[in-house]
C-alpha cells in the first residue's frame, strides 16, 4: 500500500479475523455436531472438541437416505444441466452474432426477455409443463382440427400418443433449468469482442461456419466456458426447489433433497448428528470446486451470474 500505518493494518486484520470467524464458526460447530453420538449431542454443555463418531454418523446417514443413488442422480442432473446449457447457449450465441437471417432481432429479444423472469416466479405453470410436455402440441392439433382429421382417416388417437410426463425423469430435472438465456447472453457479449479479422481470414481459407466455430471460436472461448461451467455446477448442485417439485419417488431425489429429509422436524427425534454429517458430504463437491478452481469461479461470478 501507499503508506505504512500499523494501527490501521491491525484493524484490517481484526476485521478479517472476525469475517473468517463468522464463516468458520458455524462450519466448525456443525463438524463437531456431526462427530458426536446421539446421546452426547443432547447433553449440555456442547463440547468444543469433536468426538470420534464422525465416520459412524457418515455411514449411517449415507445408508439412511440411500445417498449412493442420490449422488448418482445429482451428478447426472448437474452435469446434464451444465453441459446442456453451455452447448445450446454456444450454438444460439454463435447464430445471433455471426449469422444474418430473417427475424434475427426478434429471436434476440425473445431470448433476452426470458432472462427477466426468475424461475421461482412461475413455479406452478412450469410444473404443469413438466407433467404434460405434449399438452401444448395437443392443444395446437385440436385447435387446428388435425386431431379429428387424423382420427377419422387413420383411426390413430393423437391425443393419447402425446402424453409425455417428465416428472421423476432426468430430462424433467434437466430441461427446465436449461431454459434460461443468461449463458447465451454471456457468450454473445464475448463473441462481440472477438476481432472480425479472424472470420475474414477463415473465409479466405474457405472455412465454413462449422469449421470456423470449432477451429477458432471455441478455443478462444475456453476460459469463458470453464468459468461458466464452474458456477453453473455449484449453482445447480445446490438446487432445491425444482428437484423437490419434479420428483415424487425417493430414488429420483438429489443429494440436497436427501439432506433435507434428514433434518429433524419438531416432532421427530433430534438426530442432528446425522444431518450435520450428511451436510458435509453433500457440500463436498462444490466446496472442492471452490477451493481448487477459485480463479475460474470468481471470474464466472463477476462476468456472468448463474
Amino acid at each position: 500500500m501507499v503508506e505504512r500505518n500499523p494501527w490501521l493494518t491491525f484493524v484490517c486484520y481484526l476485521i478479517l479475523a472476525v469475517g473468517a470467524a463468522i464463516v468458520c464458526v458455524p462450519l466448525y460447530l456443525s463438524f463437531v455436531a456431526g462427530s458426536l453420538d446421539y446421546v452426547r449431542l443432547q447433553q449440555a454443555p456442547f463440547p468444543l472438541l469433536p468426538g470420534d463418531n464422525f465416520w459412524a454418523n457418515i455411514t449411517e446417514a449415507w445408508q439412511k437416505a440411500d445417498f449412493s443413488r442420490l449422488y448418482l442422480n445429482s451428478l447426472i442432473v448437474t452435469l446434464g444441466i451444465v453441459a446442456g446449457k453451455i452447448l445450446i447457449s454456444l450454438m444460439a450465441a454463435f447464430a445471433i452474432t455471426y449469422f444474418r437471417f430473417p427475424f434475427r432481432m426478434t429471436m434476440f429479444w425473445l431470448i433476452f426477455i426470458s432472462m427477466m423472469l426468475p424461475i421461482e416466479a412461475r413455479i406452478i405453470p412450469t410444473y404443469e409443463a413438466i407433467a404434460d410436455v405434449g399438452g401444448p402440441l395437443r392443444d395446437l392439433f385440436a385447435a387446428t382440427g388435425l386431431t379429428g382429421l387424423i382420427h377419422t382417416v387413420t383411426g390413430y388417437r393423437l391425443e393419447m400418443a402425446m402424453n409425455w410426463n417428465l416428472i421423476n425423469s432426468y430430462p424433467g430435472l434437466i430441461l427446465p433449468l436449461i431454459a434460461s438465456a443468461s449463458a447465451t447472453f454471456l457468450f454473445r457479449q464475448f463473441f462481440m469482442t472477438v476481432p472480425d479479422e479472424l472470420l475474414e481470414a477463415a473465409k479466405l481459407d474457405n472455412a465454413g461456419p462449422v469449421r470456423f466455430f470449432f477451429d477458432i471460436l471455441l478455443p478462444l472461448s475456453r476460459s469463458n466456458v470453464a468459468a461458466l461451467a464452474v458456477i453453473l455446477f455449484i449453482g445447480n448442485w445446490n438446487q432445491y426447489l425444482w428437484p423437490m417439485l419434479f420428483t415424487t419417488t425417493p430414488d429420483m431425489r438429489t443429494v440436497i433433497l436427501g439432506l433435507r429429509s434428514l433434518v429433524p422436524g419438531p416432532d421427530q427425534p433430534p438426530a442432528w448428528n446425522l444431518s450435520m454429517a450428511a451436510a458435509f458430504f453433500v457440500m463436498l463437491p462444490p466446496a472442492l470446486v471452490v477451493i481448487f478452481l477459485q480463479r475460474a469461479m470468481t471470474r464466472g461470478v463477476v462476468d456472468g451470474d448463474k
Binding site: 500500500m1 484493524v11 473468517a20 455471426y98 449469422f99 429471436m107 405453470p125 470468481t298
Partner: protein, 331 residues
C-alpha cells in the same frame, strides 16, 4: 439471473435520469444491438442459423413461454375445486389478493427482510473487501476462507443454522439462554425472522465480497498515490477515491441482493422455519409455493406468480441499468 458485462465504456457518475430517459436508452440500446449485435463479417446461411437456434428456441418455448403464458391466463380465471369448469373472472384474483391481510403482511415482511438482509450483507462485505485490499500477508488465505460459503447450498446453510440455534440442542441457543434470552425460533416470530436473516447474510456474504474485491482491485493506483501525497489517510481515501469508483458495483449489488432476498431464499426458509411460526417468515416466494402446492389455491397462486413476475421484470431492468454503469478496468 444474469449479470452481463457491458462493454468497457467508462461512464462518469452521471446523475440518475428520469424514467422516460430510461426508455429512450432501452430503445437506443435496441437500435445499437440491431447494428452492433451482428458481426460486420458474417455468414449468410439462414438454414444453419435456424438449426443452431432450434434447441434454445424449443426449450424456451416449452419451459418458458408456454408456462409464463399459462401463469398469466390462470391468474384471470377461477377453477372449481373439481377442475370441471373454468370461469373467466377478470381481475378478481388480484383484487382478492391485494385485499387479503395475509398477502399484505407477506409483502411487507418480504420487503423488510430483503432490505435488512441487503444492508447487513453489503455493509459486512464492504468492510471485509476494504480490509482485504489493505493487507498483504495472508490475503489469499482470508479470501479463500470468506469465499467458502459460495459452495454451500441454501438448504445446507439452513440446516447448519437450524441446528446451531435449535432451542433444545443448539450450542448458540444454549449461549443465548445462558444470557437469559428466551430464544425459540419455533415459537417466537421475531426469533425466527432473526434466524432467517442471519442465515441469509451468512450464505450471501461471499457473493458481494467477490464483486467488491474485484472492484477495489480495479481502482487505479495512481489515483490512490496522488491522494496519499495530498495527505489523505487510508479511510479518507476509501471514501473519496475508491467509493465513487466502485459506486456502480455497489448499486448493482444492491439490486442483486434485493433479487436474492426476494427469490433465492426459498431453500433457507423451507429448511429452517417453513414460513412459520404464525406466518412470520412466509415471504412472497414461499407463499406462492404454499398456496399453490400445499393449499391448491391455483387462482391466487397464479396471480401471485404474475405479481412476482412484475417485480422481477422491474428489478431486471434496473439491473441492466446498473450493469451498463459498471466500470470495468479489468476487461
Amino acid at each position: 439471473m444474469l449479470a452481463a458485462k457491458s462493454g468497457s465504456t467508462i461512464t462518469g457518475g452521471a446523475p440518475s435520469r428520469p424514467f422516460s430517459a430510461l426508455w429512450a436508452r432501452i430503445m437506443r440500446a435496441q437500435q445499437n444491438a440491431a447494428v452492433n449485435g451482428l458481426k460486420t463479417t458474417h455468414f449468410r446461411k439462414p438454414g444453419v442459423a435456424f438449426w443452431l437456434l432450434a434447441p434454445q428456441a424449443l426449450i424456451l418455448l416449452f419451459f418458458f413461454y408456454i408456462p409464463a403464458y399459462k401463469a398469466l391466463s390462470l391468474a384471470f380465471v377461477e377453477t372449481d375445486p373439481f377442475g370441471l369448469s373454468v370461469i373467466f373472472v377478470g381481475f378478481d384474483n388480484f383484487t382478492r389478493l391485494f385485499a387479503s391481510p395475509a398477502y399484505r403482511a407477506s409483502a411487507v415482511l418480504s420487503l423488510v427482510f430483503t432490505l435488512v438482509q441487503s444492508v447487513l450483507t453489503l455493509g459486512l462485505a464492504t468492510a471485509l473487501a476494504f480490509a482485504t485490499d489493505r493487507v498483504v500477508r495472508g490475503q489469499a488465505f482470508f479470501k479463500g476462507v470468506i469465499l467458502l460459503p459460495y459452495a454451500i447450498a441454501p438448504v445446507a446453510s439452513g440446516t447448519i443454522f437450524a441446528f446451531m440455534f435449535n432451542p433444545n440442542v443448539g450450542p448458540m441457543a444454549h449461549m443465548l439462554h445462558a444470557m437469559g434470552l428466551p430464544w425459540n425460533p419455533a415459537m417466537r416470530p421475531l426469533d425466527a425472522q432473526v434466524l432467517v436473516v442471519m442465515a441469509a447474510v451468512w450464505n450471501h456474504l461471499c457473493y458481494d465480497y467477490i464483486f467488491l474485491v474485484a472492484a477495489l482491485l480495479s481502482v487505479p493506483r495512481s489515483l490512490m498515490e496522488a491522494a496519499a501525497l495530498d495527505g489523505a489517510g487510508a479511510v479518507k481515501r476509501f471514501f473519496t477515491v475508491s467509493l465513487p469508483i466502485i459506486m456502480p458495483t455497489f448499486f448493482f449489488l444492491m439490486i442483486m441482493n434485493l433479487i436474492y432476498g426476494l427469490f433465492d431464499t426459498f431453500g433457507l426458509i423451507e429448511t429452517m422455519t417453513r414460513g412459520g411460526p404464525a406466518a412470520a417468515t412466509n415471504t412472497l416466494v414461499y407463499k406462492v409455493y404454499q398456496d399453490g402446492f400445499v393449499q391448491l389455491d391455483l387462482g391466487s397462486s397464479a396471480a401471485q406468480s404474475v405479481v412476482l413476475m412484475g417485480i422481477a421484470m422491474a428489478f431486471t431492468i434496473l439491473q441492466f441499468r446498473a450493469v451498463e454503469r459498471r466500470v470495468n478496468y479489468t476487461g
